[in-house]
Every structure is written in structure tokens, then in C-alpha cells.
């Protein structure tokens, strides 16, 4: 513990610090960034799915639906359940237009 690593989200170009033992999603939220979508924060909903392009990390438990067997080896994980062991380069999935610009959405989502 005590180490701090650098996480770079490639799609947005944003960079943030993440302490050893801290989840990548929590570190991002604490620094006020929104480059990875935030869902349940518990490995269940798959909202914060990312690909780790480079770097080592540990994982907590994640839903098999969103992280099927073998996906971890490909770096396809949930940001709320990975803990860096070094600097990371990550990439989140393509965002629907406008999502990064606003947390809010319209009723169209329901239709």
C-alpha cells in the first residue's frame, strides 16, 4: 500500500491517479472525472466496462454476464472491480452521443 499509479483513459485522453488497493472507478470519481460511465460500483451492472490496453491489475468479483470467462485475460473488465498494480492505459466503450456531455437523459430511453 501507499503506492500511487497513473491511469490514462485513451478515448478521452484523461489521466488520473489511483492508489494501490483503490478501484479505478472510485479513483476517477474522486477526481471529478467522467471518462468511464458509473453504474452500480459493485461489479454487477456492466456499465463501467473497459479494456485494459496496458498494465497489470488485480480483480474483484464481477458478474459473469458482463465479464465472461476468458475476458479478464483480454483485459475486458469492470473499472469498479480492478485495482492497479502499476500504471494503466484503459479504454472505455464507445459512448452514445451526448452521454459525456450530460449526466441527464430524456424520456426517450424508456421508449
Amino acid at each position: 500500500m501507499g503506492e500511487t499509479y497513473q491511469v490514462t483513459e485513451q478515448r478521452s485522453g484523461q489521466t488520473f491517479r489511483c492508489k494501490a488497493g483503490q478501484s479505478v472507478l472510485k479513483a476517477m470519481e474522486q477526481q471529478g472525472l467522467k471518462c468511464v460511465p458509473v453504474g452500480c460500483r459493485g461489479g454487477g451492472c456492466g456499465f463501467c466496462k473497459i479494456t485494459v490496453l496496458n498494465g497489470d491489475f488485480e480483480c474483484g468479483k464481477m458478474s459473469r454476464v458482463h465479464v465472461p470467462p476468458g475476458a479478464i485475460g483480454e483485459g475486458e473488465v469492470l473499472a469498479c472491480r480492478i485495482y492497479p498494480l502499476g500504471n494503466l492505459i484503459i479504454e472505455c466503450r464507445p459512448q452514445p452521443a451526448g452521454r459525456l456531455a450530460s449526466e441527464h437523459t430524456t424520456t426517450k430511453v424508456l421508449r
Binding site: G44, C45, E103, T107, L110
Partner: protein, 307 residues
Amino acid sequence: MKKGVMRPGHVQIRVLDMDEAVKHYKDLLGLIEMDRDDQGRVYLKGWTEVDKFSVVLREADEPGMDFMGFKCLNEDVLGQLRSELIERGCEVEDIPAGELRDCGRRVRFIAPTGHAFELYATKKQTGKWGVGNHNPEAWPRGLEGIKATRFDHCLLYGPNLDETLDLFRDVLGFDLAEQVIAPDGKRVAQFLTVSTKAHDIAFIHHEEPGKFHHASFFLETWQDVLKAADLLSMTDTSIDIGPTRHGLTHGQTIYFFDPSGNRNEVFAGGDYHYPDHEPVTWDAEELGKAIFYHDRVLNERFLTVLT
């Protein structure tokens, strides 16, 4: 018309890690651990509930809801409803007594939304925890955390709301208490009751079947909701939104997630419904206010984050 279904009786929730889940539901939410079985399932309940359990946790590698059960008046009613479900074309599965500990036989069916529901009539009654029913005190000492009083309802996401309403109304005797109607006339949310509560089960339209939005637990007062929010912050628990008030049902609420990402709600207050009441209708254009009465805008997470 009432058909002998009394109330939501239990929900079985899948969790990724049982120890973390028990800590959440017991120490934080304040449910009482009542039993465990040889499958490793953990049985809990809110302290005011008379039956032995209402929440069953099962460890699995994906979170979500296995099934929700409704308690019926008696075994005759259960048999009658089983026949009516079959006449209606539902495939029913008979679960033998004892599969859930101290619970009688259960009749399981899949609703058109893709969710598994069960009817049952018999469950061991252990009484209100810590107070009983003879000269009972106001509340028991020794409750933990948020001190949730009872499992109240679930909100589920799936397709085929019309068919689901027909089934719940015609066969099971539920009423439509509240609804959200889109500009094209399509019902996109329905809150059903089998009691005088504003909802015993709620559905929101979603293309993917069988999704779980939340299980909800009842608190007495707005102050209890605020204290719940304090405890969620003290324990660094993932909050979705709140404390706030709903437009739909007008309950005072906070939403948060269990450690596996299943959403929970604790709420107080809310409207009531009798069978002669017309449904309350919200227009989909007012959905922000309908769901979050003060913010009057939706957060995307509430609509799309499901297990």
C-alpha cells in the same frame, strides 16, 4: 377483484460474495438473519414481519433476482390460482415444500416480462422479531443499521407490460394503482397493488426480459430515510440517488446498491390505493418529475443500470 393473493412474501437475490452480502443486508440494512440452508442460502427478514423470512440470498456468479414470491390466503386458494394460471396458458412449475426452509409448496410461473414469480400459502411464522404479538413493545432493542422494517416491493424491467398487467389483474387479483403513459398511448410503467399499498410490484418497459431494478424496504419516517443516507455514507456504500421524493406514489426515498450491484431502496410514506380508485397517471413527458419529484430530471443510471 381480490383473488386471495395477500402480499409480497419473499425475494431471492443472487449475490457475488455471500459474506459481503450478509454484512450489507444484516449490518447495514438491518435485516435479521433467520436461517441458512445446505445450499448456502441465507434467509433474512425485517423485524416487523411475522413470517420467518422474506429475503433469501444465493451466491452466484451473476447478480440479479431469481424469483419473487407472493403469499396467498390458504392452500385452497393456491390450488385454485394454480389451475387458473394453467388455464391462462402459463407454464407452472411445482416446487415442493421444504425447498425453501420452513416454506410450503410453491407454484412458480414466468411472467411475460421474463421474471419468475411464485405463489405459496404456508410459511413458518416466528412472529415480529423481538416483540411478538402479546402486549408488544413499540420496537425491539438490538436492531442494526438502517433498521428496515419489512420487505415491501420490487421494481422489475422487461417487455410485454400489457400482457403482464392482464395476468396480474385477471388471474392474481392485482389492481393498477399508477402508470406512466407515453405520447403514443403506450404504457411504459405500471405499479400494481394487491393491498392498499401504492405498489406491491412494479414494472418498467425494457426490451431485455427478466431484469432486476430494485428490492425495496419500508421505513417509518423521512427522518429514518435521512439516517439511512447517513449510514450509507458512513459505510461508503454506493448511492444511486436520494434522499428525495418520488412523484409516482409520492414516497420519500433513497436508492443504493448492495456489494454485488443489486439496487436496494428504503422509503417512507407514499400514497394508498383502494379497488374503486382510478389509476394515477403520469405522462412520460413528466417522467423526470414522476420519478424524482425534486430534481425533475432523470439520471441515466436509474433507467439503465440493472442486474
